[in-house]
């Protein structure tokens, strides 16, 4: 239906709504968008071709001036053109944003090889080895016990069946506190902890006692006046040397691998009877030929001397208030420093004791 009244007609304005003009404006806009090389350029293009003063915006404003019958077509034409321009802008903007980020990533490249390792600390292997040994026995239900390092002579010697004339009690071997008549020593073994344990709790007792001990040895490659031991003690009904062997075999396997076991040789300790020395099957060569012949860990012996052990002497049980007719027990003791030496190939005891940071750091936080 034609309008009843024909308004004033402006040929210029009407020309802007001609299909050719609208298409041209759209095409100009699209090509300018495509040509924009950066987000800043695109912003300018947006102002010129999609802003309030852009040809298409101006054309849109003229639609109202058209006769009503022409408005629909012109409106659709301009709307399509403006939508095309908006889409082109969005697409180009996304493209340019990706490009900017890509460039940023290129610009932000770093030299990863300049980063030094952090100066993390380390724990002393004698500490971590004691903890690891403790864990082996805790896993079997045993407990880890400790006691004083400055100890009463009676607990360090007499209670362990080392009588007053035992050579180990001389000042040649043992540090006595002044005056010696006060009967206080630097413990020469962790065994007094076992006595204290038996005096403090009733059997069954299953404990290990790791710790520091003292003897009057001048320091050299294989001696130190201060060193570390771990002793084990079990007192229960029906305990035999076989239980001792089983516990040590398990200990050996936990520390040195599944194929390792132990061997007993008769020996003598005042606090055990029968007594044995424990050898560890060499965990490097397993005693197999030909590896054993050139093995530096066991020096071709196939076995490594590891410690001492035995059935708790009934005299010790009596001094600890345990009825030897009802209970039997076993005890063992190993040098932790020595174990560290052969397990990790350390050749000089002084390296362990001097505190050189390189020694500790080599071990990290576990052994």
């Amino acid at each position: 239906m034609m309008p009843a009244h024909q308004p004033a007609y402006d040929p210029v304005e009407v020309a802007a709504l001609q299909p050719a003009a609208v298409d041209a404006a759209r095409d100009d806009a699209v090509s300018a968008i495509a040509a924009a090389g950066s987000l800043d350029e695109l912003k300018q293009v947006r102002l010129g071709h999609a802003g309030d003063r852009s040809p298409l915006a101006l054309a849109n404003r003229e639609i109202g001036a058209l006769p009503p019958q022409a408005r629909k077509d012109a409106g659709a034409r301009v709307g399509r053109a403006r939508a095309d321009v908006a889409a082109a802008l969005a697409a180009r903007s996304a493209e340019l944003e990706v490009a900017v980020e890509e460039q940023l990533l290129v610009d932000e490249v770093v030299d990863v090889t300049t980063v030094a390792a952090g100066s993390t600390g380390a724990r002393h292997p004698l500490t971590t080895l004691q903890e690891r040994i403790g864990d082996v026995f805790v896993a079997m239900g045993w407990e880890v016990v400790e006691g004083p390092e400055v100890e009463a002579e009676w607990l360090n010697f007499d209670a362990l069946n080392l009588g007053p004339d035992h050579p180990a009690r001389s000042m040649q071997d043992t540090f006595f506190l002044d005056p010696p008549e006060a009967h206080i020593v630097l413990r020469t073994q962790t065994s007094p902890v076992q006595v204290r344990t038996l005096l403090a709790r009733h059997p069954p007792v299953y404990v290990v006692a790791p710790g520091r001990v003292f003897r009057t040895d001048e320091p050299d490659a294989t001696h130190s006046p201060v060193f570390h031991q771990v002793e084990g003690l079990v007192v229960d009904r029906g305990i035999t040397m076989g239980h001792l062997k089983g516990s040590l075999d398990h200990f050996a396997r936990s520390m040195f691998g599944d194929h390792v076991d132990t061997r007993f040789r008769p020996s003598y300790f005042p606090f055990t009877e029968p007594s044995a020395e424990v050898d560890l099957r060499c965990f490097v060569c397993l005693g197999r030929t030909p590896a054993v012949e050139s093995c530096r860990t066991c020096k071709g012996e196939a076995w490594i001397e590891w410690g001492g052990c035995g059935v708790v002497n009934p005299r010790v049980l009596v001094a600890c208030g345990v009825d030897p007719d009802e209970f039997t027990g076993f005890a063992f003791g190993m040098g932790i420093d020595r174990t560290l030496m052969f397990r990790h190939g350390v050749s000089d005891m002084r390296d362990m004791a001097e505190g050189d940071v390189r020694f500790t750091r080599a071990f990290g936080v576990e052994v």
């Binding site: 607990l155 069946n161 006595f176 089983g246 040789r265």
Partner: protein
């Protein structure tokens, strides 16, 4: 104890093919521990033969030396045809002159390599071709006798035969480490007994000899000190030829066992000691004055022992005396006045049994361990003395041409060994090996016990096993005969355990935390000296000066046990710095020893036939110093992270440790040695009784302390009583209530006098802010315009949050204002602009 295998074999019928290694392994399995096997003579190879000197020309040479140009018959196999009318043989140049034509000598022919690697070849010397070498004992490794060459007895060998055999050159020697309970194995007799036991072959007891004393007494003896000497036997041999040499076989055995041959009479006594284990003392009878008396020393007595040392005697020393006074330390060493010399013709043989304790004490008192004392201390067979004296006498007669005087003096009698009641199944119950009663009885009999098969078994140990006193001792004998290899491997089942203790877990946590924070753990000895405490600047009344003292320290300069870990850790740091590690962060976690203010009471020596009472145990513990675990940290050089000063790194590390333990720790300025008086913080925890118990200190060391210990300047040190800190750690950590409401952040800048510690401002703010304060953090310290002189501006960031609502701006402002007001009230802090 070193034993030649040939000597062992002389008393044990060992299998022909058994190698020394097999023998040693067998004996080790029986409890005689192998120390080393050596094969003397094995390093000599090639034709070493007996030669007879056919002719000998002495030639004097221009260099002043006289040599002997000899022609030697070395047997048809080795002789060369003579160039002239001479008999077949070899021409050899020799520098020694202690032999003549017709003598049998030892010739190393070309091809021999001597011990030490010298290869013998025909060589031109002194104008002759010397076709071999005539050997001395030293050249063959038979001792250090360089005095001339060896001359063999005519009866010993034929020219051309192997010389190694008559010289007893080659043997294998097993060295054993003998445990204290196996005193019997300090003799060939004991070793051979176990060797035969191990091989299941017969043993021939060298003590099983005919004792024929004849009638009457020998040299008179009186024992006054019966407790120290239960048996004393003497025999006499007279008419000895002082020039009689020690035969080669006896000298060689002594030598292989590690003793030096001296004279025949001395060598025989040593030989019998090695063979039987019974120490023998021989006296020159012509030098004894009156009867021998065994008694304790009297005050002021002295004795010059065989080693030439004049010894002041102790009243507890057991002596051998005659009319002149002491002539020997019983069982330890004889005196010089009566010793057998090269000229002695008459010998009194002493074979006695002394108390192990007496001998051990005397030997220790005089620092005089001898082969005799070693045996008496561990226990000599108390029924061996007569046989041993007979054996010595027999050998002296046979080798020295003497004769045994009739008569034997025997004073005392050994106590009969106690009978041990042994349950027949005890061995099985203790060892876990299935050992029947008959097997146990057989094993006990095999080691020499007499067993009466009753219930329980009545077991009498043999006289040489003084160590067998308890049923468990017999179990060990049964076990070693059956074999320790038979012990089964059975895991015992422990009752359920409770894992590590809280203290053990906390120490592990601290160790890991410090390692993660960059600290390297070290260990150190606990010994310090007074100069270390001086170096720390500890004043005379400082409790850390009260240290326990070691009576016999390794170093007289470090006789004390440390009361602070500073000397130990600073010395380790100095050592590391000296090795190029200036930038170190070290940790040391160990005990200190604190005797407290008063003197410690002595510890009792309690009986061992029962458990001590609670009071007795208390007396033991009361005698001990406190031994808490301390943790010490040291930071030097650039080790502080991110260029923070070392002192603040050390302090932060201590606070981190407290946080790891879940213990709130306070920090306040303090002045204390060994720290810089203006850079020392004390660490406090809520006390159990009093508030703010001090558990440690941290800060920069005093410059003088750094110089004294040789550590880098500005080294920081911290030490805390870890046990005290850990005792405050919560058993159970309470779970937090998490507020989901938003946090409000507000900053406060406060101007305070320069001397006011930031910590005091923070405490006041914290107290004023109340429960809504979630956290507070000092983030800036500013000095300068417009802050007045001698003042500083501290900027704190506060986070405020309520558990149940979103705080309004007004509420936040109230928190801020009350906090500021509290700071003003407490330390005069003014809000800045």
């Amino acid at each position: 104890m070193r034993a030649p295998v040939s000597w062992i074999r002389a008393h044990a019928d060992l299998p022909e093919g058994q190698t020394p290694q097999q023998l040693a392994a067998r004996l080790t399995a029986l409890g005689l521990k192998l120390e080393a096997i050596t094969s003397p003579g094995a390093d000599l190879t090639g034709p070493l033969v007996v030669g007879r000197v056919l002719s000998l020309d002495r030639e004097e040479h221009t260099n002043g030396k006289t040599i002997s140009w000899c022609r030697v018959d070395v047997g048809p196999e080795h002789n060369l045809a003579a160039p002239s009318k001479d008999e077949p043989g070899r021409g050899i140049v020799c520098g020694a002159h202690n032999f003549g034509v017709g003598d049998l000598v030892v010739v190393a022919l070309p091809g021999v390599v001597l011990p030490g690697g010298l290869a013998i070849s025909a060589r031109k010397t002194y104008g002759h071709v010397s076709d071999g070498m005539i050997c001395s004992a030293a050249e063959l490794g038979l001792g250090d006798d360089h005095e001339g060459i060896i001359v063999l007895d005519a009866a010993e060998a034929e020219p051309g035969t192997d010389a190694a055999a008559p010289l007893l050159l080659r043997d294998d020697v097993i060295e054993f480490e003998i445990n204290p309970d196996r005193a019997y194995a300090l003799s060939v007799r004991g070793i051979a007994r176990d060797a035969a036991l191990g091989a299941g072959r017969p043993f021939r007891d060298p003590a099983d000899i005919a004792i024929e004393p004849g009638a009457g007494e020998s040299y008179p003896v009186r024992v006054d000190e019966v407790a120290g000497c239960d048996v004393f036997v003497t025999r006499s041999v007279t008419g000895l030829d002082p020039a009689a040499p020690t035969p080669r076989w006896l000298a060689r055995r002594l030598q292989l066992a590690g003793m030096r041959p001296i004279t025949l009479a001395v060598d025989v006594t040593n030989y019998v000691m090695l063979e039987l284990g019974q120490p023998i003392h021989g006296y020159d009878r012509d030098r004894l004055r009156g009867p021998v008396v065994v008694r304790s020393a009297r005050p002021g007595e002295t004795l010059r022992t065989l080693d030439g040392v004049e010894r002041r005697l102790d009243p507890e020393d057991l002596l051998i005396t005659d009319d002149r006074g002491p002539i020997g330390l019983a069982g330890v060493m004889g005196g010089q006045d009566t010793e057998i010399t090269a000229g002695s013709c008459a010998v009194v043989i002493e074979a006695a049994h002394f108390s192990p304790t007496t001998v051990a004490r005397t030997a220790r008192r005089h620092g005089l361990g001898s082969e005799a004392s070693k045996r008496f201390e561990r226990g000599v067979d108390p029924r061996l003395q007569r046989a041993a004296a007979q054996r010595v006498a027999d050998l002296l007669v046979r080798l020295g041409g003497g004769r045994i005087e009739a008569g034997e003096t025997i004073v005392g009698e050994p106590a009969a060994p106690a009978v041990i009641a042994l349950a027949a199944d005890l061995s099985a119950r203790v060892t876990g090996i299935a050992i029947g009663a008959s097997a146990a009885i057989a094993a006990l009999r095999a080691v020499g016990c007499t067993v009466e098969e009753s219930h329980p078994l009545q077991v009498t140990p043999p006289s040489w096993r003084m160590d067998l006193t308890d049923p468990y001792d017999l179990v060990e004998e049964v076990a070693r005969v059956v074999g320790y290899d038979s012990v089964p491997s059975v895991l015992p089942s422990a009752p359920p355990g409770r894992g590590l203790t809280a203290s053990q877990r906390l120490r592990r946590r601290v160790g890991r935390g410090l390692a993660g924070a960059g600290f390297t753990e070290v260990v150190a000895y606990p010994f310090v000296g007074g100069s270390d405490l001086d170096g720390l600047g500890l004043l005379g009344d400082d409790p850390r000066r009260r240290a326990v003292r070691v009576a016999n320290p390794l170093s007289e300069r470090e006789p004390l046990l440390h009361t602070t870990l500073a000397p130990a850790l600073l010395k380790v740091l100095a050592r590391n710095a000296g090795r190029g590690f200036d930038d170190s962060a070290l940790s040391l976690l160990t005990r200190v020893f604190l005797p407290g203010s008063g003197p410690l009471p002595p510890a009792p020596i309690l009986p061992v036939d029962r458990a001590p009472s609670a009071a007795e145990l208390g007396a033991l513990d009361a005698a001990l110093p406190d031994q808490p675990h301390h943790l010490a940290l040291v930071v030097s050089g650039q080790a502080g992270a991110d260029r923070t000063p070392a002192w603040s790194a050390a302090l932060a590390a201590v606070r981190d440790v407290a946080r790891l333990l879940g213990v709130p720790a306070g920090v306040a300025a303090d002045a204390r040695a060994p720290w810089h008086p203006g850079r020392c913080a004390r660490i406090t925890v809520d006390g159990i009784e009093a508030k703010d118990t001090v558990v440690g200190h941290a800060g920069e060391l005093h410059p003088r302390v750094c110089r004294h210990f040789g550590v880098p300047a500005r080294t920081a040190y911290a030490e805390v009583d870890l046990d005290a800190l850990a005792s405050r750690a919560p058993d159970v950590v309470p779970g937090p209530a998490i507020s989901a409401f938003p946090v409000a952040k507000t900053d406060l800048a406060l101007v305070v006098d320069e001397r006011v510690p930031a910590g005091a401002v923070e405490s006041a703010l914290r107290a004023g802010a109340g429960d809504l304060l979630e956290s507070i953090r000092l983030f800036d310290v500013y000095r300068g315009h417009p802050v007045p002189a001698a003042h500083k501006s501290l900027a704190f960031a506060l986070r405020v949050r309520a558990p149940d609502r979103t705080l309004t701006d007004d509420e936040v402002a109230v928190v801020r204002d009350t906090a500021a007001a509290a700071a003003r009230a407490a330390v005069g802090a003014e809000l800045r602009g």
